[in-house]
């Protein structure tokens, strides 16, 4: 029997610029926030293996632009929705998605892409029930993690090799400012430490 609206699960988005912070927050969020729904799932970046495969297999062709990277992120998100998020929600479970929409949109805006294009690109993804902004560590630096750790780390590694004027510290600062703005307009809440 399909679940009724009351039984439908909840989608919680965690947004931030560093995979380390997102992972830490995800571990905390899952059991603590929803103890009655401890069986809930998580949906982590690159569940489809798209970015991992690209990094492993075709480094010499790894010259995508920010727009191409976002198209690939959207395809991975479509995979996550189809195989992880929607089945769990339909079964009445809570799913924590890290990252979800806001981080990718912040990356796109910080790279100079239009708000309208980004909104249209992610139109297929349902809005989360709750969106949390994770606490950012090492705010004044770029990304130090491995490219396969997270979306922003991957983009930083790729763009630093291909775009002559790319500066990871500036990009991360711009992404953080955009996530701050989404917090101010209450699209995301600050996740308590």
């Amino acid at each position: 029997m399909p679940p009724t609206n009351d039984q439908r699960g909840r989608l919680i988005a965690l947004e931030g610029t560093r995979a380390t912070d997102l992972r830490r927050a995800m571990e905390r969020t899952r059991p603590r926030r929803h103890p009655l729904r401890a069986a809930g799932g998580v949906s982590w970046w690159d569940a489809s293996g798209t970015f991992y495969e690209m990094w492993l297999g075709k480094r010499r062709h790894l010259t995508p632009s920010p727009r191409t990277l976002l198209l690939l992120y959207a395809s991975d998100l479509s995979f996550r929705l189809r195989w992880e998020i929607q089945p769990a929600l339909a079964a009445g479970r809570t799913v924590v998605a890290a990252p979800y929409l806001e981080s990718a949109i912040a990356f796109g805006r910080a790279s100079g892409l239009s708000r309208r294009w980004l909104a249209e690109l992610f139109r297929f993804a349902p809005q989360p029930d709750l969106c949390y902004r994770v606490k950012e560590g090492k705010k004044s630096s770029g990304w130090k993690g491995k490219p396969t750790d997270g979306f922003a780390e991957f983009c930083s590694a790729v763009l630093s090799e291909t775009a002559p004027s790319f500066n990871s510290v500036d990009l991360r600062a711009a992404m953080m400012a955009l996530l701050d703005a989404s917090e101010r307009r209450r699209a995301c809440r600050r996740l308590a430490s």
Binding site: S48, T50, E53, M54, G57, K58, H61, L62, T63, P64, S65, R67, T68, L71, L72, A74, S75, S78, F79, R82, G112, W117, E120, L121, R123, F124, T162, A163, P164
Partner: protein, 265 residues
Amino acid sequence: MTRQPARARKPSLSKEVLDLLHKREATRGLLIAFEGPDGAGKTTQRKLFRRWLEGQGHTVTTTKWASSPLVRPLIKARKRARALGAEELCLLQAADFRHRLEQDVLPALWRGRTVLADQYLFTGLSRDAARGLDFDWMLHVYGPLFWPDIVFYFPISLDIAAQRVASKRSPKYYEAGQDVTNVADPLSSFRQFQARVMREYENLALVFQFLTIDGEQPIYEQHKRIRKLFLEGSRRVWGEWNAEALAEWLTLGVGRQEVKHASHE
């Protein structure tokens, strides 16, 4: 060439970029797309036309659908596993398209080479629309659009398409649209799916004013018509049609290098 479809919205661009595009207009290459359903004979005509163009002194680059070394292996592996949803397939193909546009097509055009696209974005639009995706969303996904100078369209009947494809091999799972038709027999599914694709192509041909080549005519007759239409044709002025896509490319690594390279020539 042709009457032109409604003009693309002209974005507000810096004078510097518009000047650069204006200066390049005279020496840039032409982008010519070959579109039509599977089995229409696009590749045969593209090869013949390439030879003829080279004989006329053009330097020619060819780009094929879903062929970028970055994304092709991903699409291939996922197709083999039959693991792709309609949206995911559309987005991967759009990523492939964007990557080829930025890395291969635009640099070649900028250097004055003629680019032949064996299937262009209209292939993605017609197939994805046949899979039930929203047309407006797809146009955004492929945006900012880069319009070819000429689109040759090869309509054929469903029977001929099925006959030509089946004479070589059984249609593949996604080619036959089995992901959306749920029909077990590949050829029956191909017929169902291609009927939808052809309907979408007909709409696109009307809206975007493709140059139609009857794909059921003898091969040489088609080739002669392509030559004739090409010689009568005119280009789409970059500054009016493709300014937004080019402005973005010019700010990227590859585009910048091209401009630098050109200024040293």
